[in-house]
Symmetry: C2
Subunit: 166 residues, 2 copies
């Protein structure tokens, strides 16, 4: 069996009991969503920086992950060295509000629909725990991406507002 193929045993042992396979655009590549497989923080920050997010202190990222309502890794399967190729996390109260942050697909793996699959997975996971309204702040370059997936921009004329501590 090729090392890219993934058995049910490997899926659960390597990626955690909640893990599930993500449809792959390439038959030589197995992809997995996991909410529990721990992240290497350096690998995670490299992924986020590869899509343009600015660097944050590692100690703060660690706490932010611990305090997130949901954190999802999209892994390219390799039995010895699974690679983190996508990520998203949510903050929120778990019932009324959830906000998505830090969405990233490694640029090498972009353009084949993985961003959409990741967002579908995140939305479904939030729906599964009972959240009915999900929010995010979209950069101008990805507004069309979210619109095409059924997201609504600024309903009723709402506006985003940001406040930065000195």
């Amino acid at each position: 069996m090729s090392s890219c193929c993934l058995t049910q045993k490997e899926l659960l042992e390597i990626y955690g009991k909640d893990a599930c396979q993500c449809p792959s655009p390439n038959k030589n590549m197995s992809l997995v969503f996991s909410q529990t497989k721990p992240f290497d923080l350096i690998e995670l920050e490299q992924l986020l920086q590869s899509v343009g997010w600015s660097q944050r202190p590692m100690s703060k990222v660690r706490i932010a992950l611990e305090n997130s309502l949901l954190k999802v890794g999209l892994w390219r399967h390799d039995p010895a060295f699974p690679r983190l190729i996508g990520f998203a996390r949510c903050t929120g109260d778990g019932v009324l509000e959830a906000t998505i942050w830090d969405v990233a697909i490694n640029p090498i793996y972009q353009g084949v629909g993985l961003g959409k699959l990741l967002m579908n997975y995140v939305n479904q996971s939030l729906r599964d725990i009972g959240v009915t309204r999900i929010t995010l702040f979209a950069d101008p370059g990805v507004v069309a991406f979210y619109l095409s997936q059924g997201w609504v921009l600024e309903p009723k004329g709402n506006r985003c507002a940001f406040w930065y501590a000195n």
Copy 2:
């Protein structure tokens, strides 16, 4: 002593150890911020509906409050029957991101600067725990209010996006 006046002993006993007085526009009225005094959920929902927020299931509101990063009550002091006249809560990870929800000042008490004092208190409380970026979704009618307080709308052309579960 008039019943509206508030002793330090009353402040801590009625409103909790974290409580602090809020400058009052009226010398016959003492106002208090508290992050720990429990809310009567019916009183809270009445306050939120008085400013136009839609009704939510009480059971969900209870969980949402428990899972909030911060929840602030603005109370009009009365030794026997403190009244909730303002409210705001935040979700977030406590270090990188905080989002403010459910901001309300009872319409009877609006127009005298209490909204600004409430937001200052919330921002300072979040800054005290180390959050450096705060976000919110502002209705069109209150955009000017937030702008006047130093909030920035859609920096770098960001857009809000909402997704509603079926």
